[in-house]
Amino acid sequence: MAGVWPRHRSINWRGLWARAMLWDALLLQLGYNATLVAIGATLLGIAAGVTGTFLFLRKRALVSDAVSHATLPGVGLAFILMVALGGDGRNLIGLLAGSALSATAGLMCLSWLTRRTRLAEDAAIGAVLSVFFGFGIVLLTVIQTMGSGRQAGLEGFLLGSTAGMLFSDAMIIAIGGALTLAVILLLRRPMTLVAFDPEFAVSRGVPVHRVDLAMMGLVMAVTVVGLKIVGLILIVALLIIPPVAARFWSERSDRVVLLAGVFGGLSGYVGAAISASAPNLPTGPIIVLVGFALFAVSLLLAPGRGVLAAVLRHMRFQRRVHLRQGLLALAQGQPIYERLTLRLLRRAGLARADGVATDEGRARAAKALRDERRWEIVRGDLAHEAAAALYDGLRDIETVLTRDQIAEIDRRIGGPKGVGA
C-alpha cells in the first residue's frame, strides 16, 4: 500500500478514520452490541468505583483480588457440569453463576484463614487467589481435553473479550451492571456508616456483620458482571484505581464515594468506546489504562493531597522551620550549626555570612523570642487552652489571640509576678 500512495497520505487517512470511529463510539453509534457494551461498562465502572471505595477505606482493597481469581474454578466447573448435562457449556448465565459460587467459596476460605489461624490477611489473600486460580487452570486444561472445539474461549474470562459477543450476553452485562448499581444505591447509608465508623454503626443498631457480607456480595457481583468485559485478572483495577484516584480530591467520605463512581463510570465508558473504535484494542486493558490516567492526574495535580502541592508545601515548611530556629538562635546568641539555616537567613537579609545578625535580623529575632515567651504564657494558662492547642512552633501568635489578649500577656511577661526573670 505504501508503494501506491505517498506514505503521509495513507497515515492521514487512517488517522481520520480512527478519529471518526472514536467519535462514533463515544456517541454510541457503533451498533447495538458496542453500545450495549459501552453502557454495561459504564454501569459496571460506576458500581465498581463506589463498591471499591468502601473496600479501600476499610484498607481491604486487595480482597477483591482474591475474589476475582477465585471465580475461575467456578467457570470451569460450570462448563463441565453443563456439558455433562448435555447442554451448551457456553451459556453465560450458567458460567457466571458458577463463578459466583466459587468466589463465595474463596471468600469463605479467606475469612476462615484470617479468623481461625494466625495468618495475616495479606497472606490469606495470596494463598486463596493462587490456589483457586491454579485449580481453575487445572480445570481449563481438563476442558481442553474434553473434546475439540467446545471449550470456545473460556480463556476469554481471564482477560475479557467483547469481540464477537452475543447480543444476549451484552444484554446480561448491561442488566447486571444496572442491578448492582441499584443495590448499591439502596444500601449506601448503612455501608457508609460501617465503612467509616463501625463502632458508631453498632451503637446505632446497624447489623455490621450483615452489611459487611452485603459489601462482599457487591464486590462479587461487580466481579462476575465484569468477567466478560474486563476479565478476572483486571477487574480488580476497576475496584481499586477509581477510589484511590478519588481519595486525592476530597477529605469527605461522601464526595470520595461519588467521585470514585464518576471516575469508574468514565473509565468504563471512554475505555469501551476507544476499544470499539479500532481492532486490536482489547476492552479490559483500555478501561484500566484510562482509569490509570485519571489516577496519575489526580496523584500529581490534586490540590491538597496531590504530590505537586505537597512538595511545594513541604519546601515552604522546611524553610519556615529553619528561619524560625535561626532567629531564635540569633536572639539567644547561640551559634548556628546548620548551613541551610544560615543560607536562608542570609538570603532574607537577616544575617551576614559569618552568622552575625543584621539590624533587621536583630529586630526579627527579638520579636521571635518575645513571641516564644508569649506562647509560653499561653500554653501554661488554662484560660488559653484552645489557643495553646494550635501551637506548632511556627504559628504567629497574632493569628490566634486578639491584640488585647497579647497586651495582657505582655503585662505578665513584663511584671515580676509568676515569671521569675
Binding site: 479501600f56 484498607k59 481491604r60 482493597a61 486487595l62 477483591s64 483480588d65 476462615w112 481461625r116 489461624t117 494466625r118 495468618l119 495475616a120 495479606d122 497472606a123 490469606a124 489473600i125 495470596g126 494463598a127 487467589l129 493462587s130 490456589v131 483457586f132 486460580f133 491454579g134 485449580f135 481453575g136 487452570i137 487445572v138 481449563l140 486444561t141 481438563v142 481435553t145 480463556e155 481471564l158 482477560l159 485478572i233 483486571l234 480488580v236 483495577a237 475496584l239 481499586i240 484505581i241 477510589p243 484511590v244 481519595r247 486525592f248 486490536n280 484494542l281 482489547p282 479490559g284 486493558p285 483500555i286 484500566v288 489504562l289 490509570f292 489516577f295 496523584l299 493531597r305 504530590v307
Partner: protein, 309 residues
Amino acid sequence: MTGAEFVPLSLTPLLIGIFAAVACALPGNFLVLRRQALIGDAISHVVLPGIVVAFLITGTIATLPMMLGAAGAAILAVILIEAIRRLGRIEPGAAMGVVFTTMFAAGVLLLEQSDTSSVHLDVEHALYGNLESLIWLDATGWASLLDPQALGGLPPELPRMAVTLLAVLLFTLVLWRPLKLSTFDEGFARTMGIHTPALGLALVIVAAVAAVAAFDAVGSIIVIAMFICPPAAARMMTDRLETQVGWSVLFAVIAAVSGYVLAGYGPLWLGARDAVSAAGMIATMSGVILALAALFGPCRSRTGAPQQG
C-alpha cells in the same frame, strides 16, 4: 517406571519444579512475616509487560532479553508501588493494586498491538508456563547423568533455575541475621547499624529474581503460590523461624513433586487420556498442604498471650 522412561521425560521437569518452588518459598518466609506477601502477586503480574517490551525491543524471544525485561519490570513495579505509597499516602495494598493491574493491562495491550503471531508469546504461557515440555530428549536412562554429551542436551531452564536457587540460598544464609532482626524489630535493627530500607529492597529484588527465573519454566501461578503457601503452612508447624524455613522448603518440595505426579498420572488413573496443567496442579497441592496445616498444625492459632500485665 524404568529409568529409560523416567529420566528423559520426568526427571528434568521435576527438578525444575522443585528448584523453582524452593527458590520462591525461601524469600516467601520473610515476605509473609513482613506482611508483604502480595509483593509476589504483584511481581508475577508485571512479568508479562516486561517480556513483551523486551520482545518489542529485541524482536526475538531469546531467554536473556526476556529475563532482563521481566526483572526490569519487577523492579520498576516495586519502585512505583513504593513511590505511590509514600507520595500519595496510600495504603500498600491499594498502591500495589494500582500498579500491577496497570502494568499488566499495558502488557496485554502491547501484546495485542504487536505482531507476535509468529512467535510463541502469549498470556497463557506467562500464566502457567510449560513445565511438561521441559524434557531431556538426549537421555536414555540413569547412565545419561554421567554422559557429557547427553548432559549438553539438558533443557537450559534446569541449570538456570539451579543457579537461581543457589543465589537465593546464599542470600538467605549470609544475610540471615539482619533479615531476621529487621523483620522482627525494625527500629532496633536500625540502632544496630543495619540499613533496613536497603535490606528490605534487597529482599524484594531477590524475590523478583526468583520469580522471573521461575515464571519462564513454570508460569506465574506457581510463583505466587510458592511465595505464600509453603511459608504460611510452615508458620503453623513451629514457633521458631529456623524450623519454619525448614518446613517451608519441605512443603515446597512435596507440593512440586505431588503436583507434577498428579498432573501427569492422575488423569490416567481416573481413566482420562491427557495430562492436566502441572503448574496449576502444583499450586493446588500447595493449597491442600496449607489447608491441612491450618486444620491440624500444632501452632496454627495465634498465641493468646495477655496483652497487659
